[in-house]
Symmetry: C2
Subunit: 304 residues, 2 copies
Amino acid sequence: MPLSESIVSIIGMGLMGGSLGAALVKGGVCKEVRGIVRKESQVPAVVAAKAAHVAGTDRKRLLQGADLVVLATPVCSIEEEILSIQPFLGSGTVLTDLGSTKASIVNAMDKLEGDIIAVGGHPMCGKETSGIGSATSILFEGAIWALIPTRNTKPHGLELLLELISAVGARPVVMDVERHDSAVACVSTLPYLLSVALMAVVSEAGQNNEFVRRLASSGLRDTSRLAASNIRMMMEIVNSNRAHVERILSMSLKRLEDLGLLLTDEDTKGLCDFLKNAQEERLRLFPEGVPEAIHEPRAPRGRG
Amino acid sequence: MPLSESIVSIIGMGLMGGSLGAALVKGGVCKEVRGIVRKESQVPAVVAAKAAHVAGTDRKRLLQGADLVVLATPVCSIEEEILSIQPFLGSGTVLTDLGSTKASIVNAMDKLEGDIIAVGGHPMCGKETSGIGSATSILFEGAIWALIPTRNTKPHGLELLLELISAVGARPVVMDVERHDSAVACVSTLPYLLSVALMAVVSEAGQNNEFVRRLASSGLRDTSRLAASNIRMMMEIVNSNRAHVERILSMSLKRLEDLGLLLTDEDTKGLCDFLKNAQEERLRLFPEGVPEAIHEPRAPRGRG
């Protein structure tokens, strides 16, 4: 069944689910968008955000007849959600999720019985703010959207998702769960943890030197942006992907120790090569160049 | 003498010197702006950028009668420049520089003889690109500009610089050399080194997993922006501030090890507190909130 004739039910109408609903409603790309929330009191915000055609808390009713069900709840709850909604899913329903780590979710999807078609999903976008109030129909534009096939994936389920991803302006990349979780630890969780460590150092150094905070400028601002991320979400991402995160964190420690040794040894050639390799990797990853960052932020009002 | 009646000679017309000249010329805030370059072939670009009223290589002529001399050459050359231009500076000339680390520069300024008024300077702004072609009159708008008094600083020299800084839209902060260099290692060099280590990990992890580069998104992009910085400039900054940089790098290693232990010990409470403290520090430093980063970069064309 094409997307245009499909009923899409989204469970969890926060930043991600709300933005997906808003993009689908705005684009008019499917037959109906249903938003499922935990509490009745959340319904008006979903309606106000135009994030669904109908919204409510009654899962049974809102999942009935759905052609595509999207789990957009926090990553640690998705496994449980898969089990709990299973009885409400009709034969042939396509099920996906928006969780940032995939091992346990794909494992739960593998075990689904009946004729449910399940595909793990992970759109690589977000904001530092959360909730339906932050939702926006343009959230997915230009974003990579990882798709992870499970034992219960069938071609027409994948096709429906490719159509949906393309309809909201994102770019699908199909990959296996192991390489997904490993890559996410590297390109998403590690930058966060480095950003957190940076803020810890600034906080410590700032206690003895008021100028640490007064000299904070655009370099620090950009490198530390991720430290402002939602803590609960990051805790879940770290906890659900611990082995990969530990391994990647060790790699970064090793590299920083290497840098420290090059400094201590006054190994100018070695240091220069190290910096050059990093610069080349950066230019390879983001060849369009860096966004110009010539302005300082408005007066960082550090308490110094 | 007020800035409006002053002749300002800038030595070194790259990104920083060229931008300063362009801002002064555009604002019409001083009597004359002179740009001093190394090679005659660099003069047309300075003229084209409207970065000086007169430009050339003849130091003696272009320094004669100057009320304010600004050293805008690479940080490692400034100490030598101070010695070499001394014979050309008239009594009462105000001398400053734009170098990113200050210990050896301020030390050289302390030793100046005659009636030269010397003040170390460091505008906290820049770009990842360098040269007069990147110069812009708005470079300093909103930037913190550190001023470091020397033994040869006198009140009216400081006043002239405060006037200049304010004329180009920057905000002066006067501090001692030790705390300047320590703060710079923390808020400027450490973010760079973390960004470099991040790219080294991505490069290594990307060799075995093509999806590392394919999943690169806005978080990685912002956290790694500084890795694209000019290598020669960063080498000079690191080398001229080695002790502080080593100390700050050790602090960051310690914090990352702490994070690793919290992960290994599955210390959820400890990890959560660590992340919260970092988040609070970030919000204290940049209370205006984070720039929204909901879009992915245009297709990272990683060679994967």
